[in-house]
């Protein structure tokens, strides 16, 4: 199958969907490809088919509005589809229901969103430990709390949102543990005052936890997870300003743990296509180089949303509109006025989003939470000690660590260990993490069955070279 679209947008979160809507409204033939069965991305993820009815939340309403708009548009929504390879010019290899097909377009917009960073600590691989953002994905689609009694640990506003959602879904929060101090939040307050509705939501989450008597451990961190095949409890310790441990551990009992250290942009697809990347802590780490309206150094390739830097859902939506309009304008459709409006809204909402991102910027002490015995690469079961042995043997880059120790080579494609590995290299070499780029991304972008990656061929069709003359 080969369909030629004017524009294909990859990623159906707020940014990708708004980009597709903006371009479609200019009369272009637009396809929106997304892994999930419904539009919304991670942040506005739809409930699965088992939920017949449930009380609506802020996220449900925002997601429903986006889903309605896409449904009412002329966009071709290709749902439940995974883009596993992209060829410049643009041909996308898309896996859907165990069948791979090729889609082509004139211009490509990548809105690949974000994933989360979790600083590896001993026991973080135990069943019952969920990522903090991962937990929100579970809540949004299944309305299921992570366990009966959960410890919620992490940075920024997400830790309070997750704790609040657990209570809303009938679970018990044993404790909230956050590396941020009250002072970190006081510093963020001035930028939050411009967004009173969001500030109010956050205040309700915290006040509710306090009324319920849930202990909030500020400026503390989970240092160890105990339990064999299931979480039994965690150890927590106090941190200094640089997030280095200062006190002895205390133990807390729980049957589940949500753990996270902020979001990081999904840059693999853009990086693989040759978009230069740079490091910016204020935007969540490595980001692709783009212009403000989403253009890149590669002709007819555009990027938008959290995949270009963590600025939050609202900013991502406005940035998507802006990028969709620009991609349409480059194909000869559209007006400058709409772009100006979208850019102004984007820049305003981005300021708030970046204030929240700042609460998760890694600090020097946190790397020490990953002890020598801690598994860093979950897929290949590689510990910090093994990675350090590789460094001592002369490895100096993420690529060298990958080929030497297999860390980052497993089925997740290094998505959950790349940041920690770069941290270890930085520490050993004394160089800043900005000098340690992630390993070269390789296709497939998503796991794909070998039979599909190999494609179909006929032995008789293989060219057989003539025998060499004797």
């Amino acid at each position: 199958m080969s369909d030629r679209f004017d524009i294909i947008v990859v990623g159906g979160g707020p940014s990708g969907a708004r980009a597709a809507l903006a371009a479609s409204a200019q009369g272009l033939n637009v396809a929106l490809i997304d892994e999930q069965s419904a539009i919304g991305g991670q942040v506005w993820r739809a409930k699965n088919a088992s939920i017949l009815s449930a009380p609506k939340t802020h996220e449900t309403r925002a997601g429903d509005a986006l889903r309605r708009d896409v449904l009412a548009s002329d966009i071709t929504h290709i749902e439940g589809a995974r883009v596993w390879q992209i060829e410049t010019g643009w041909t996308l290899h898309v896996l859907r229901k165990d069948v791979s097909s090729e889609l082509t377009c004139k211009s490509l917009v990548l809105a690949t969103g974000a994933r989360e960073y979790v600083q590896p600590v001993p026991g973080w691989t135990t069943s019952g430990v969920l990522g903090l953002a991962g937990a929100t994905a579970l809540f949004k689609q299944s309305l299921t709390p992570p366990g009966k009694r959960t410890i919620v640990s992490g940075t920024g506003p997400l830790v309070f949102f997750v704790a609040s959602e657990i209570r809303r879904l009938g679970g018990e929060v044993a404790a909230v543990v956050t590396p941020n101090s009250r002072r970190d939040w006081m510093r963020a307050l001035p930028s939050m005052l411009g967004r009173p509705a969001l500030l109010m939501r956050g205040a309700i989450w915290v006040a509710d936890l306090m009324l319920a008597g849930v202990p909030i451990y500020w400026q503390r961190v989970v240092t160890d997870v105990s339990g064999d095949d299931q979480v039994r409890g965690v150890s927590i310790a106090k941190l200094d300003q640089n997030w280095a441990r200062t006190s002895e551990d205390i133990m807390l009992a729980a049957d589940s743990l949500c753990l996270g250290n902020g979001l990081i942009p999904n840059i693999e697809a853009a990086h693989m296509l040759g978009v230069p990347i740079r490091h910016d802590h204020a935007l969540g780490g490595w980001i692709p180089e783009t212009t403000e309206d989403g253009g890149t150094s590669i002709d007819r390739l555009y990027l938008c949303g959290d995949g270009t830097g963590i600025r939050g859902a609202e900013a991502a939506a406005h940035q998507g509109t802006l990028t969709g309009l620009c991609a349409a304008a480059d194909l000869g459709h559209g007006t400058v006025n709409l772009q100006k409006q979208a850019k102004a809204k984007w820049l305003k909402s981005a300021r708030f989003g970046m204030t929240m991102t700042a609460l998760s910027i890694p600090r020097v002490g946190q790397a020490q939470l990953t002890t020598p015995e801690t598994i860093v690469c979950r897929c290949e079961n590689v510990t910090r000690a093994t990675i350090e042995a590789e460094l001592n043997a002369g490895a100096q880059s993420s690529n060298a660590i990958k080929s030497g120790s297999r860390a980052g080579m497993g089925p997740c494609g290094g998505k959950f260990c790349a940041t920690a590995i770069a941290q270890l290299i930085a520490q050993q070499s004394g160089a800043p993490v900005a000098n340690i780029p992630p390993a070269t991304p390789r296709p497939p972008l998503r796991p794909v069955p070998l039979s599909i990656a190999a494609g179909s061929f006929d032995y008789d069709a293989l060219p057989i070279p003539k025998p060499a003359p004797l």
């Binding site: 691989t125 969920l130 299944s142 006040a207 509710d208 079961n381 997740c412 998503r446 796991p447």
Partner: protein, 95 residues
């Protein structure tokens, strides 16, 4: 006790229960829900064994990236977080 965040657990209406198996044991879920969620609610967290040390692993990222929740269905390795529960589904621990 005053709650600023209401408990919505009793206001959630789920589809009819279905029964599937995990390593031969019956587990109850709801038609159309994702397998990772159903297994988690049933207290079945250990979904696969890690390479090298065989350590127990379960759902982690819940968004189809980390590959920790992979299980075996009809001989194929699939992500539990991206698989729908159906009546009679036979799920096995992977790895």
């Amino acid at each position: 006790m005053i709650r600023l965040v209401p408990n919505h657990a009793l206001k959630i209406v789920r589809s009819a229960p279905v029964v599937f198996t995990f390593d031969g044991q019956s587990v109850e879920g709801h038609a159309g829900e994702n397998l990772a969620g159903a297994l988690l609610r049933a207290g079945r967290l250990h979904l696969r064994n890690a390479p090298a040390n065989g350590g127990p692993r379960g759902a982690f990222c819940c968004m189809g990236l980390c590959q920790e929740c992979t299980v075996r269905i009809d001989g194929q390795v699939v992500e539990a977080c991206r698989t729908e529960v159906t009546q009679g589904l036979a799920v096995e621990r992977a790895g």
